[in-house]
Symmetry: C2
């Protein structure tokens, strides 16, 4: 192992203990929360009630999921009068993606498919 490898190892072990990554990955581990983010990805700045509409669950249940997303920094909520609107805050996803990017050498054909994804948007 070279000195560069050792530094990489050290940095990597330190990076593995980031509490923000715990919160981000944990928030993303639920299908309803991913679907809420997907909705905000299509239409940003939705009110909580508009955001909750397509989901077959109570408003308080949706609001609990929004709390988790907010705690992870994945959404921001702004109150205007009696309306709370939600916006996507994708910063933590970038951190998660950077973490995953370290491993792209371990899956085959990844660069081509990822490049295709990035070019599509």
């Amino acid at each position: 192992m070279t000195a560069i490898d050792r530094r990489f190892t050290f940095n990597f072990m330190v990076n593995s203990t980031q509490p923000s990554l715990d919160r981000t990955f944990s928030a993303l581990a639920d299908p309803t929360r991913r679907a809420l983010l997907a909705r905000l990805g299509e239409q940003d700045g939705l009110s909580v009630s508009a955001l909750a509409r397509p989901f077959a669950m109570s408003l308080p249940a949706v609001m609990k999921h929004l709390d988790v997303l907010s705690d992870a920094g994945l959404i921001t909520r702004t109150k205007t009068g009696r309306t709370v609107s939600c916006r996507l805050s994708a910063g933590p996803m970038e951190e998660a993606m950077s973490w995953l990017a370290h491993y792209q050498q371990f899956w085959s054909g990844s660069l081509d498919r990822l490049a295709a994804l990035l070019e599509r948007d």
Copy 2:
């Protein structure tokens, strides 16, 4: 909303309910499990005891984390005689990264930084 937008929405909502993504993100939400993957990323095919050595926890505790990683398809375990060796299986990470890639338009400067990460490896 155009027909293409609607199809995208439909696909996206369907993709949000992938149980494999639940397992992957949930497995990645723990710092010990990320550090275990980091170690396998540097040195693949380690025995369970060699893998567990730097961690300040019991072997059974490490083995529980390995169970979670294995259930998520992030590692494979092979038994040779009395030795179980672990290998990284990065496929689920690719799926997670593809999911996150949909959002790269929402964070600033992402393409430059991601391109730099991809080029570095």
